[in-house]
Structures are given as structure tokens and as C-alpha cells.
Symmetry: C2
Subunit: 110 residues, 2 copies
Amino acid sequence: MGATKTAHFTGKQNSIATLAKALGHPARVAIVEYLIKVDACICGDIVNELPLAQPTVSQHLKELKNAGLIKGSIEGNAICYCIDERAIEKLQTYFGSISTKLTTRKNNCC
Amino acid sequence: MGATKTAHFTGKQNSIATLAKALGHPARVAIVEYLIKVDACICGDIVNELPLAQPTVSQHLKELKNAGLIKGSIEGNAICYCIDERAIEKLQTYFGSISTKLTTRKNNCC
DNA sequence: AATCTATATCGTAATATTGCAATATTAAAA
DNA sequence: TTTTAATATTGCAATATTACGATATAGATT
């Protein structure tokens, strides 16, 4: 054992878990925040922004990309990364709807 | 190596990462969704709702609790779990603010 | 007190993640 | 074409996560 039993959960649950997992590391949160802060696609720079070695950053970027949180396109010599808005929108919608459900609920026992 | 370098990131980045990580597993997403669906504190039941063995569920509950996503209080023989709204609110605020920044940005190159 | 019920903890195997040095790749620059 | 710059990949060690059987714990029921 040791592998997540994805097959037993719904597609949406797995999809949210995948996005959340990608943001489950401060370095990846920092990358996403940086991409938003500079308000542009970034070619280069990202490694210099983080307190981690280049291969480690490259790995984190790959994970963010696999999860669908960022997009990367080759721009000559460098690679241009930017946020994939659809992922952020998914998360925002998800937590927004949960939040709404919580504020309008009747039972508030704890 | 193998341990996350939390010390190199901001408190907020670590805090978001902790919450996201807790939701980075479909079973824990399912638990949170169930607690919201039943609109109440739940004593028992959770194990029966999930396709995982009791010790596994117990472990997932512990992680959600450590991350601050759920609260648990002893209710006689059983334990009563419910959502900690503050955590959901944090996530909602965070992704809401990111989403806003994305829609109002100028550069949209990708 | 003995038993039942609900949950936690321990121990452990399988697998995944984190981090980096070394190396590869690829395109621009000289 | 050699060199430089940016990024990816490989390989590996350290650590964390996932899952569950066995067992412990603690309150309720009999």
C-alpha cells in the first residue's frame, strides 16, 4: 500500500484534491503568488525568486503544470510560465460554494 | 533531504500550503463534503461513508484536524466532528482575492 | 463486572515527495 | 561552430504519506 485509492472517489473530488495537492507546498504557493504579482508571463526569474536549487524549482513547476495550475510555453531560449486561470477559478468556485453552504446552514453545533 | 523547507517561506504561504495539503487527498475532500452535506456535527457515520478501513479514516480525520479544517469534540462514547469555518473562509478569501487579481490584470499573454 | 461500540494508536509495508548534484538539452550569442 | 544561458532530466538519499491489521482505550449498555 501507500498509493492513494483515487478510483473510489468521484471525479470532482479527485480533481479538487489534485489542485489542492499542487498547492500543498509553500514553494508552489510562492510560485503561483509570484506569477500573479508580476502580472505577466515570466521567462526566467522564477529560480532566483525561490530559496531552492534550480532542479527543485523545475520539479515544482512541473507539478504545478501537471495539476493544471500553470501553463508553460517555449519562448526562444527560455520558457514562459503563467497562471492557468481556469484552475484558480475552479478553486474559487469550489470554496465559494462551500462557504455559502456554511453561512446559510441551520445546524451550527460546534 | 525529503523534508519541506518551510522556514524559507512566509507564514501565509505556509498556512495556505498546510490547508491545501490537507485537502490534497480525495478521501479528505470527501470527508469535508460529507460534513457540509449533512449540515451538522457528525458522531459516527464517517467511517461508513468512505471506502477505507477505520484506522485509515481515523488518520485522515487527524490530519484534517491538525490542519485546522475540522473540529472534533467528545460526545459520550463517540466523537463529534464538524467543519471549522475559519479554515474554509481563509481558503475562500485567498482564492477569491487571487481570482480578482487575475480578472483585473492587464497582461494576459498566454 | 463483562460486553459492546466507537475511535485511536501502533507497527509496518508500499509508495510518494522533497531536494540537490551531476548531467543533458536546446536555442541564442559570440 | 564553440560558448553561454536557461531549463529539464537523471539518479539518489532522506523523509513523508497512504493504507491496514492488530491492538488499545474509553464510555455506554447489559
